[in-house]
């Protein structure tokens, strides 16, 4: 019974994966930029390390985030990850405590029962065996759920699980086999020796009563070792590689590394850290509202991981950011897509198996060259102003918003200059979203020049798309404010006198303003000041995209309308009098999708302005007079 040959597959696999992990993380580290390297080194000796440990135990072991979203799914992940972790820890302690000697090789802990078949019949050892059986049962219950999920995803509250490659399938099978084979191997051995606790003991006795347990046991020990070994060998090329990589990602993120604007070790780590959990798939409006099921972030990341041609997937996304909000791994999906949009073409090929093991992927891309050029733009000499108002291209298509903003600013006595009154230059964000950053730079430089020369302290814009790019990609002295923030400021300063409109309204958070720039409270404060604000089913960071997004270059108008209709339906469930938004593009999109009146927040506020009575009384007859004469 003391043959140890069966531990060979396990040992080979274990040492392979350990060495591979060390080498690969070293390569990743070496490929980081100098500043990121410093961040990581500093992080290792400081708080980030402790934070990472906490996050690893909360997320990678306990999976609390998934748990909160979907308890059954959370339990499944938790039982497998946390259960396995405990089994290893307590198994090691068990081997150290009850084994022949201290400091055993890992295989002695993993195959403890084989080496100590009589262990744990009574006393403290018996209680310990009970505990180990309990852990095994915990894991097996999670495994059962995983198998159910694989075959009936709907039961687990998921709309769609991701498709697997054949390496995934073998890895999955070996993962599934690990714990049942351990159960059977231990049971047969316990059956022979009359040891074991409630699970292995009872099952062992039952099996040994009618089977030649002593002959069968070694087979299952072989199976156990083989499935462990296979799993370890396939780990780097299967989706389960995310398990070790996620630890690395958490540590990198806590050290302050972020995605940046080109592919790097960090994007590579992120692509491998995706667990293909599919949470992003069921969150995506493209999938459930527009019936497009192949562009979601899970597929995007998978295509990236396998170096496929994903230009179509990359382009066909609203860049709404909802998936990034729910991704339990915390992958920066938006910035990753933008990087990919900036790349040129990628030849479509299937990675060979050995390429999948390669330590740092070389991406087969062709640098995209600038296509647009705006040398025709003439430099302006703007007048000086304290407040500069930039309506934005989209706002020019909703002139009522401009009228409302003028009214509000006049009423508050703001001395402003209207920067793009006669049609300005685009802010550059649409070009960036299309992956044309260098071209966008030209527009940014042009606009920055005008803003600097005006000497403005505050730059107010009515369009969240402009707002985001002004804040993030312009170097300005002026404080950038979205008009909802600015109106809120005017109210707080007391320079706006507003009446109360007896209306129920619902507020739609525009993607670029809410998730994109983190402005949730100011618009709500403004609305609550003049009307009754209803809450809606999906709001704030989970707000829906209106479907009009400029982030998607390829989506057809029909599909856009489907998304808009679905979003408008959700928003107007509470039968509000008006649907309020803070983005001209959302307004234009929603107007066509719902019967409810759609207004911009500026229009709502302008409606609450008291009518200027005395002036009105004087002006009215004059106007009537002039109309009468012109008609006559």
């Amino acid at each position: 019974m003391n043959s140890e040959l069966f531990t060979l597959p396990f040992n080979l696999g274990l040492y392979f994966i350990l060495i591979y992990s060390v080498v690969r993380s070293t390569v990743w580290f070496r490929n980081l930029s100098r500043s990121d390297k410093l961040r990581l080194q500093r992080g290792f000796f400081g708080r980030p390390f402790m934070d990472s440990l906490r996050e690893i135990s909360m997320e990678s072991l306990l999976h609390l985030k998934i748990f909160r979203k979907n308890p059954v799914l959370g339990y499944m992940h938790m039982s497998l990850a946390f259960g396995w972790f405990l089994l290893i820890v307590f198994g090691t302690i068990e081997a150290d405590f009850f084994g022949e000697k201290h400091l055993n090789p890992p295989s002695h802990a993993i195959f403890f029962r084989w080496f100590n078949p009589d262990h744990g019949a009574e006393g403290f050892a018996g209680i310990y065996s009970f505990w180990m059986d309990l852990l095994l049962a915990f894991i097996l219950s999670g495994l059962l759920l995983a198998i159910i999920k694989r075959f009936t995803p709907r039961l687990m509250g998921m709309k769609k699980t991701t498709k697997h490659t054949w390496t995934d399938r073998i890895a999955l099978t070996s993962l599934w086999l690990i714990f049942p084979s351990r159960l059977l191997a231990e049971s047969f051995t316990c059956g022979v020796h009359g040891s074991g606790s409630f699970l292995t003991g009872n099952l062992g006795n039952a099996l040994a009563s009618f089977l030649p347990a002593a002959d069968i046991a070694p087979w299952f020990w072989w199976l156990y070792s083989l499935s462990l070994g296979t799993f370890f060998f396939l780990l780097p090329v299967s989706r389960y590689f995310h398990i070790p990589v996620e630890l690395f990602l958490i540590f990198m993120r806590n050290s302050g590394i972020s995605t940046g604007d080109r592919h790097s070790s960090y994007t590579e780590v992120q692509t491998h850290a995706c667990s293909s959990c599919g949470v992003c798939i069921s969150t995506c409006q493209m999938s459930y509202a527009a019936g497009i099921h192949d562009i979601q972030s899970a597929y995007f990341i998978k295509g990236l991981r396998n170096d496929r041609d994903i230009a179509g997937i990359t382009a066909n996304c609203l860049m709404c950011g909802r998936c990034e909000e729910v991704c339990p791994v915390g992958i920066e999906l938006g910035p990753m897509r933008l990087i990919e949009r900036r790349q040129g073409e990628r030849s479509d090929r299937t990675l060979k198996l050995q390429e999948k093991y390669s330590l740092m992927r070389r991406r087969s891309t062709l640098e995209r060259r600038p296509t647009q050029s705006y040398r025709y733009l003439v430099r302006e000499e703007p007048e000086k102003a304290d407040v500069l108002f930039f309506a934005g291209c989209m706002t020019h298509l909703t002139p009522s918003v401009i009228v409302a903003m003028k009214k509000i600013m006049d009423s508050a006595g703001v001395r402003y200059r209207f920067m793009d009154e006669n049609g300005g230059v685009c802010c550059g964000r649409p070009l960036m979203l299309a992956g044309r950053d260098r071209e966008a730079r030209e527009l940014i430089n042009h606009n920055s020049d005008v803003i600097w020369k005006s000497g403005a302290q505050i730059l107010v814009t009515s369009c969240p798309i402009c707002y985001k790019v002004f804040r993030e990609s312009y170097y300005l002295e002026a404080r950038v404010m979205h008009h909802s923030e600015f109106i809120n400021l005017l109210i707080e300063e007391g320079s706006l006198r507003l009446g109360y409109l007896h209306k129920k309204v619902v507020y739609h958070d525009p993607c670029e303003l809410g998730r994109g720039s983190g402005i949730y409270e100011e618009p709500r404060a403004v609305i609550s000041y003049v009307a009754e604000l209803q809450s809606s089913e999906q709001e704030r960071n989970m707000s829906l995209c209106c479907g009009g997004s400029l982030g998607n270059l390829t989506l057809s108008s029909g599909k856009r309308a489907m998304i808009a209709a679905d979003a408008a339906r959700t928003l107007t469930l509470g039968l509000p009098d008006e649907l309020i938004t803070a983005c001209p593009l959302c307004k234009k999109t929603f107007v066509q999708a719902t019967e409810t009146k759609v207004s911009d927040i500026a229009e709502l506020v302008a409606a609450a302005l008291p009518a200027p009575r005395r002036e009105n009384a004087k002006k009215r007859p004059a106007r009537r007079h002039s109309r009468a004469t012109s008609n006559g």
Binding site: R369, T371, Q372, S373, Y374, Y376, L377, V378, C393, M394, H396, L397, N422, G423, G424, V425, C426, P430, L431, A434, R436, L443, G548, L550, L553, T554, L555, S556, S557, G558, L585, K588
Partner: protein
């Protein structure tokens, strides 16, 4: 009608509408229609041109660009396509639901491919 007569009627005021099939290159049009099928829906109303952001600063004209594409006139297209800012105003005014931004992007890609001899 003699040339002298046609001059009298002002037929030479406009640039020739003659399509020269020898210099016409249909590959660009085919590439664009493949990438953005809604291109075919354009009925040259000019709504996009009236609202165009770039058009307020230069002589850029999306409707004319569409015509160049349709006629396969590559030389003028090369310059025209560079000027759009992809701002998306035209997308919102187009009565036919043409995905105008992607038409421009596809045209730019097509020109790039033509230069690399990949089309």
């Amino acid at each position: 009608m003699s040339i002298a007569q046609s001059n009298k009627f002002g037929f030479t005021i406009n640039r020739s509408r003659l399509i020269d099939y020898d210099s016409s290159d249909r590959k660009v049009r085919e590439f664009i229609t493949l990438k953005e099928p809604s291109f075919r829906l354009c009925f040259a109303c000019g709504g996009c041109t009236a609202t165009c952001t770039a058009g307020q600063h230069t002589s850029f004209n999306l409707r004319r660009m569409n015509t160049y594409i349709r006629r396969g006139e590559i030389e003028p297209l090369r310059e025209e396509v560079k000027r759009c800012m992809l701002c998306g105003k035209c997308l919102l005014v187009c009565p036919r639901g043409v995905n105008t931004r992607n038409v421009v992007a596809a045209a730019a890609d097509a020109i790039g491919k033509l230069e690399r001899n990949e089309l």
